[in-house]
Subunit: 250 residues, 2 copies
DNA sequence: AATAATATGACCGATATTGATTGAATATGA
DNA sequence: TCATATTCAATCAATATCGGTCATATTATT
């Protein structure tokens, strides 16, 4: 097997399982631990994966990525995306955060007369040739896996922008608030929150009760949350007690 | 089997499988490893496929298919792109302007250890998943036709950036200087000129003697110009009298 | 047909990768 | 704390791959 191919498989395996031990990988790839060790060193050096004693852990959206793979979660994302897009009115100016859910929203915005601001490369790619849509891209350091622009350049660019609606997704929601896994991302998203009149959060129910690294904002900060019908009653009560408008998509 | 036919099969196989080893290919095509090796060198040179030790990996979306079959001017662009890319050293920080010629340069930068700054969406798309390459995207208003970011946001972002080399292409070159067709673009490019230690212009010979809307800079502003061999002697004299280093690609 | 130009396959020294081994560093558990 | 068991980083010999060269075969041109 080719070295690059092997490394790709390692990343893939780590993505799916969140963690992988040296032995597992050596057996899976039918190679020696030495080689795996060298590969991990290489991949870690590049930030694709984080080494831990005895193996590796996937860095980034590990848990969510896994869930995204399941078709059920995906089709829910699509439904959520459509529902959010239906809310958008002609001539709106909207800010689209990166993420697979917001990408689903963007799919429904092609060829609609809108001003769209985004820091997501895939979303920009989708909308750049949409004739009716005026597209403004937020630049910055490109985070490789998800293709979103982060860092000081992104934050600075967001300072000069005002939009009617922000559509964002988050990595986890607990009673303490909304979370995401990457602190650079959270910093950019906090700036986004300041630029929008109305904040809309689009998540699948699986994110509720799950924690992540950095706190993004309080639970009552969004004006509206779009979520699929998998949300349990307890959470519905909590949200309505916080005066967050909720749209259950099915 | 014809060489071109054989190469086409190699690309096809790589597309389908993601990876292909030398041995696999040699067997599949019923030819020697030497020949396959030469083919891979050729295909890698065109950016259609990425060589890795022991074989090849398929690289990104094949815009190439479309461009491959077009005029001679394009293959000159490819050659220029390759020549410019050879100049770039590991660890360099470079700023890539938008345009088809610079896109050809970018094809040869995939998987090389570099810091790349660009305002071009297609170039970003090409490099975002190149693991060795750190990518910084300049945002702004997206100009639909060419997919480059322009306007005040782009200009502002460029103010905070310094790079070793700027690689740009221009719409026209006359004795009065370099020109481009869009004044927003020229404004951004003038800012780019300020951020780079060394300015490299990559153009095909057809641009010489041609005018365009907005003046970008004087003829002697670039440190180096890459151009194909179609450039006539008169222009060579003019450029050398201006102390611009010239590389004739062929 | 003769010649030139190009493509091919085999070979070889240089280089990179691999797997095993070792002692050092770190974690585990009494 | 100490003893034991893992895991780690470094090293080395064996192996695989690379780039270049050369003789031969194929194709194009005169």
């Amino acid at each position: 097997m080719l070295p690059d191919q092997r490394r790709e498989k390692i990343v893939e395996y780590a993505e799916n399982n969140g963690f992988a031990s040296l032995q597992q990988l050596a057996e899976l790839l039918d190679t020696s631990e030495s080689t795996v060790r060298r590969d991990l060193e290489y991949l870690d050096g590049k930030g694709q994966v984080r080494r831990t004693r005895g193996g590796i852990a996937y860095v980034g959206e590990s848990l969510t990525d896994f869930e995204e793979r399941t078709t059920r979660a995906l089709s829910q994302k699509q439904r959520i995306g459509r529902a959010v897009a239906e809310l958008i009115e002609p001539g709106d100016s909207i800010l689209l955060d990166g993420g697979t859910t917001t990408l689903e929203v963007a799919r429904h915005l092609v060829n609609r007369p809108l001003q769209v601001v985004t820091n997501s490369l895939p979303i920009a790619q989708l909308l750049v040739n949409s004739p009716e849509t005026e597209l403004i891209l937020i630049g910055g350091y490109m985070y490789p896996k998800t293709g979103v622009a982060l860092g000081p350049i992104a934050v600075e660019a967001l300072r000069t922008i005002r939009v009617r609606r922000l559509i964002m997704s988050v990595g986890g929601i607990t009673k303490e608030g909304m979370f995401n896994s990457n602190s650079l991302l959270v910093e950019a998203e906090q700036r986004m929150l300041e630029t929008a009149e109305e904040v809309i959060v689009a998540v699948d129910a699986g994110k509720f009760g799950r924690n992540a690294l950095s706190k993004l904002c309080d639970l009552d900060r969004p004006d509206r949350i779009f979520v699929d019908s998998g949300l349990n009653e307890n959470w519905k009560d909590i949200l309505s007690s916080k005066n967050v408008e909720m749209t259950i998509v099915e």
